[in-house]
């Protein structure tokens, strides 16, 4: 397990880098705008694509030569899953139009849950109060806009 991961990680990173390099190169070659003299907008992307490709190749070489030391601790998928849920809800809160306060409440409670808390009601309450306070400070004191939902329109 440990030995396999040592070369698996650099090989995966190497392949990913080569894909990124290819995407940059493809994107740069589709630029049509040019300049009369000096450097066009496609040159630096091409140079960076080359740099990324070299790093990708170096990773592959490292991978096939035995790899490097990597962390192989077991992950806690449930814990990560809760944070991912909180963040995905945050993203979805924009098209759903639930507003800033509810998004913050869910994110707070989900993260606390991920770190092992079981008192859901308390955490929801803390998240809600934090959300309301931040919303009021931002919109009233700092005059910055935050996404509005039904709750936010209620407080005005």
């Amino acid at each position: 397990m440990n030995e396999a991961a040592k070369s698996r990680v650099p090989v995966i990173v190497g392949l990913a880098l080569i894909v990124i390099a290819a995407v940059i190169y493809w994107d740069a070659s589709s630029i049509t705008r040019g300049v009369n003299y000096g450097m066009g907008p496609q040159v630096i992307p091409e140079v960076i694509a080359g740099f990324v490709a070299v790093l990708g190749a170096a990773h592959l070489v490292v991978g096939f030569r035995g790899g490097f030391e990597v962390e192989t601790d077991e992950l806690d998928p449930t814990a990560i899953g809760w944070i991912v849920f909180g963040l995905v809800f945050l993203i979805a809160s924009i098209p759903l139009g639930v507003g800033f306060i509810i998004a913050m409440t869910v994110l707070f409670a989900a993260t606390a849950r991920a770190f092992g808390r079981r008192a859901l009601a308390t955490d929801v309450a803390i998240g809600f109060v934090t959300g309301v306070v931040i919303y009021l400070v931002f919109t009233k004191l700092l005059t910055l806009g935050l996404p509005q939902g039904p709750l936010e329109r209620l407080i005005g």
Binding site: I20, I44, I134, L142, P147
Partner: protein
């Protein structure tokens, strides 16, 4: 004498009540985030950027600097009391500092760290005040080719020279450079790496990247290995006052630490880790009590802490005079300047002397404030460490989301935050440094502009880069710094084969 007059004028600005207030908020926030594990000064400034968008620029920048200095003080408290350095700059402090705390000498350890930070911070800020105008005069003569070469040097030193693995550092830098490509090319208006997504035409926000990497990435990383043991907080034992013996043994390391920290911070050499470890090993060699090392030698706290703070002040030299950030925090502070349309560099000294000298003067004030709030109030900060971990990280994520929501509440922006968070998690897990990526994102587009400007002036002839002595020298140093670690690796391998 010009410097003294300018500095005097700066003090008039910095002593205005509103500026003092900003400095005080900055040092308080900075100390708090320095103490709390998981968040550092770079993240805090990144979170505050959207919040301070409509506030007074001078005040906000004074606050950011206070956060930077405060983070350095606060980090040492955590390093000494729980052996969990808040940021890599405190790693060296933790070695002897935690041993001192375990041996019941936590009080003197905290005291020598705070007073050493004050001494080093003050001397280094004096260095900044006198070095900056001189460097500005040099920088006025810099052409675009020189700036380009300087940035290339910064890329190399930030990512390659001092990391454990140059390959991983360079990969992190490269990812930052790739993100820097996203958006509309400023010189021709061509869209690059935007894939037809309108939100991407503005480019990648540095705050979104920093908050994703530092806050979301850190939370995912910590939660992924939650089943590991908890940290033990050492109670503060022993008087906070240092004995005559402690003073006698501390002042040398403070001054030597300053001498390591300031120049290394001021050169585009990146990071506070190098000077702190240099100071640590020097003090270990010079110490007259070698038997105490490993059991809690006060020199091992005094030196690295001084080096740490001096390098923070040193980092401000290239940032203010050249607009060149050499640490993650400096990169975000540069973004802070830019959000007010200010560009650090020689022109800023000429156009906004109030701001520049007010900032430098406020650093002296912030240092004095930090000494006061860190010594008598250290008990208060220690209590922050008792915040339950679930609430701490839930709070960090809420603040992270808040900043992004206030700046740009769109599905694309929040998805980027999420993606950068996941990337940050993977990079932490597999030991890729994240700071080069942040520096790459902000410096990459600047370097490209300077290069293209240079080639426009030379009508496309690349020889311009090596026929100017300054740019040629800088590029040569960069090449050596890039190749040296690989060459040394080769040498090591050679030696290993011989055995």
């Amino acid at each position: 004498m010009d410097v003294l007059a300018a500095l005097g004028h700066g003090f008039l600005v910095a002593l205005e009540p509103s500026k003092l207030f900003f400095a005080l908020i900055g040092v308080f926030l900075g100390t708090a985030v320095g103490v709390l594990p998981g968040i550092g000064p770079a993240l805090t400034v990144a979170l505050l950027l959207p919040v301070t968008f409509k506030l007074d620029p001078t005040g906000s920048i004074i606050m950011f600097a206070g956060i930077y200095y405060g983070g350095m003080y606060g980090g040492s408290t955590t390093a000494i009391l729980i052996n969990a350095p808040g940021e890599s700059a405190s790693l060296a402090t933790a070695l002897e500092g935690n041993k001192m705390a375990k041996a019941g000498r936590g009080g003197p350890a905290l005291a020598t760290a705070a007073i050493g930070s004050f001494v080093a911070g003050t001397f280094a800020t004096i260095g900044l005040a006198f070095l900056a105008p001189w460097l500005v005069e040099v920088a006025v003569k810099f052409g675009p080719w020189d700036y380009f070469a300087l940035m290339v040097l910064a890329f190399v030193t930030v990512s390659a020279t001092f990391g454990d693995s140059p390959l991983r550092g360079l990969t992190s830098l490269a990812l930052g450079l790739v993100l820097g490509l996203v958006g509309i090319d400023k010189l021709t208006g061509a869209a690059r790496m935007s894939f037809g997504v309108p939100e991407l035409l503005d480019g990648v926000e540095i705050t979104t990247l920093a908050v994703g990497l530092f806050a979301v990435g850190e939370a995912l990383f910590v939660v992924s290995k939650r089943h590991k043991g908890d940290d033990v907080i050492q109670p503060i034992k022993g008087s906070l006052w240092m004995t005559r013996e402690d003073w006698r043994r501390s002042w040398g390391p403070w001054l030597r630490g300053t001498l390591f920290g300031f120049p290394i911070g001021a050169l585009p050499a990146g990071g506070a880790e190098v000077p702190t470890f240099l100071s640590y090993s020097t003090e270990k060699r010079l110490c007259k009590h070698p038997e105490e090392w490993g059991k809690g030698a006060i020199e091992g706290v005094a030196g690295p802490e001084a080096a740490n703070n001096a390098s923070a002040a040193g980092t401000l030299v290239p940032l203010l005079t050249l607009g060149l950030p050499t640490s993650a925090t400096a990169a975000i502070m540069l973004a802070g300047f830019q959000q007010y349309g200010l560009n650090p560099g020689p022109l800023l000294f000429a156009e906004k002397p109030d701001l520049v000298w007010g900032l430098i003067a406020s650093l002296f004030i912030a240092n004095a404030m930090l000494l006061i709030i860190n010594l008598p109030l250290v008990g208060l900060w220690v209590r922050l460490l008792a915040i339950p971990q679930p609430w701490l990280y839930a709070g960090i994520l809420v603040f992270a989301a808040m900043g992004t929501m206030a700046a740009k509440a769109s599905v694309v922006e929040l998805s980027m935050l999420f993606a950068f968070g996941f990337l940050g998690f993977l990079m932490r897990r597999y030991d890729y440094p994240v700071a080069p990526m942040v520096v790459g994102l902000i410096l990459g587009p600047m370097a490209e502009q300077q290069l293209r400007r240079a080639l426009q002036i030379s009508l496309g002839d690349p020889v311009v880069l090596i026929e100017n002595p300054i740019s040629a020298t800088l590029l040569a140093i960069a090449a050596v710094a890039l190749l040296a670690p690989f060459a040394m690796q080769g040498l090591n391998k050679f030696k290993a084969n011989e055995d």
